[in-house]
Amino acid sequence: MSQSQKKQDGSALKSGADSVFQWASAACAAFLLIIIAGIFLELVWNSRLSMKEFGFGFLISDSWNPVTDKFGALTSVYGTLVSTAIAMVIAVPISLVTALFLVELAHPVLSKIVGGGIELLAAVPSIIYGMWGLFVFAPFMQDHIQPFIKDHLGFLPLFSGPPMGIGMLTAGIILALMILPFISAVSRDVFQMVPSVVKESAYGMGSTTWEATRKVTLRYGIKGIVGACFLGLGRAIGETMAVTFVIGNNHKVSPSLFSAGNSIASTLANEFTEASEPLYLSVLVELGLVLFGITIIVQILARLWLGRMEKSMGAGL
């Protein structure tokens, strides 16, 4: 065999192995798309019984009776939205000032320690929050916080009913604790992206730290922060265990935040393995589809927003 022939054989083999390698890696990447599509198709297919039975009325009906086969998504959707809203109202402001503290105010060593602690809080599994919420925080709410709120704001329908510890408000607070480290960490990164030249020019004009933050850093990073909040929102909406432990699992729409409610995720966690009738199971899968739809919309909005921000940040300055 001549020298040149050998070389040719070698390179043919090379490109063969190379294209196999490239195809294999492309297949693995495409597998991710297949899974997303598969989730969607499977949820739609397995909720067909429920869709046929209830149609669009499913979304606005508040009945939930496995015995008479009357189901509606309203109580679960309501609980999901209300607990998430409480979580966002509490978590967003606290996360923002925390991020501010870590970037602008704290001594670098302190910032590292506190920042590290908050990042660890983000790694704690949600079932731990659930345990702590049910056995420690809910009794604390019942004995101290809820009576206090009741004494001062009890005239509002929002805070009517007996303080039971568990319920919508407690679930919202625990959700807030869970997304707080997440939003803080992302906002901290956003604040750090603000070029120091811009901040320094504000200080050079005699601004105080707060003035520089409010008029320069916040304005510069506002889009990133909105993106961070969207991502936190996406997490809160689908969080299962922490909510299931403390929300009370009651299929009722009540104006009071003290009352027990449920969320889509908690209903699934509690009832999925108990659903023996095909229709019941199908109803639960359709609830899952609703949740999947909501989180996908939130995710897509967040990503589009963040993508736009990255482009404008890259182009500017």
Partner: protein, 282 residues
């Protein structure tokens, strides 16, 4: 500019500083509170039986969670074995072959979506594709659900880490006549190894504490050791859920023990991954 007294401006500044310091302490305070409670109550549940025995029936004191500990380890390990190679290959595609093409950009987009999908939805999905056709809950289904959760995390960190590898390294290996696949596996991956290990560890930490995707896949099994993955398989997190919701004091006590184990495990893996990453950076 509006004229405002220097004193007022200074006072506002002080107030904001105090508020922000207090708020960040709130986060640390709750972390401390949760850690303290779990450590305190968890240690109370620890004894030899807890680590070596099967659960006892309700109302019978004692027994342990040894089968659930083993089950959690096995399910997580199997999920890692499935999820890591696929995830890494996907990441390789994104970084090495798919800079600008449409497949890669949609994979990037939807892997973010998949990362944000509630884990309970993954559970419902795996129930539909594995548990229902097989007509039984199984450890395999649990591992599949966890693997799906790991996939996008590993693919994206792999991509990020490979992107940090300088192109000159690829070019010099190619110039020596090495085929693309050897350049990637032998040179590029080797130099990005530490970062990828960090990503894998973070993914393991993330799924190790998951409960929701196991509820309708691995289910739970109080009666036996996890010897047969084709059956409902015991695991710590679902056991915590079942025990915590039970009316039995002894079970609740043991649920705290299991919580401590899970928390320590997950935090240890998380911290280890950070330390590896940092040690490499310096």
């Amino acid at each position: 500019m509006k004229r405002r007294g220097v004193a007022l401006r200074r006072a506002t500044d002080k107030a904001v500083k105090v508020i922000s310091a207090v708020s960040s302490l709130i986060g640390v305070f709750f972390l401390g509170w949760i850690l303290y409670v779990v450590l305190d109550r968890g240690f109370d549940a620890f004894n030899l039986a807890f680590f070596t025995q099967l659960p006892r029936p309700p109302m019978v004191e004692g027994g342990g969670m040894a089968n659930a500990m083993l089950g959690t380890l096995m399910i997580t390990a199997l999920a890692t074995v499935i999820g890591v190679p696929i995830g890494i290959m996907g990441g390789i595609y994104l970084s090495e072959f798919g800079l600008e093409n449409r497949l890669a950009s949609s994979v990037r987009f939807y892997s973010n979506v998949l990362m944000g999908t509630p884990s309970i939805i993954i559970g419902v999905f795996v129930y539909g594709i594995l548990v229902e056709p097989m007509r039984r809950f199984s450890g395999y289904a649990g591992a599949a659900a966890l693997a799906i959760i790991m996939l996008p995390v590993i693919a994206r960190t792999t991509e990020d880490m490979l992107n940090l590898v300088p192109n000159s390294l690829r070019e010099s290996a190619l110039a020596l006549g090495a085929p693309r696949w050897r350049v990637t596996l032998g040179v590029v991956i080797k130099s990005a190894r530490t970062g990828m290990i960090t990503g894998v560890l973070l993914a393991i930490a993330r799924v190790g504490g998951e409960t929701a995707p196991l509820l309708f896949t691995a289910f739970n099994n109080n009666l036996m050791w996890p010897t047969n993955f084709n059956q409902p398989t015991a695991n710590l997190t679902v056991t915590i859920f079942n025990y915590a919701m039970s009316p039995y004091e002894d079970w609740k006590r043991q649920a705290w023990g299991a919580s401590l184990l899970i928390m320590v495990g997950v935090l240890a893996v998380t911290i280890a991954s950070r330390m590896i990453f940092r040690a490499n950076k310096e």
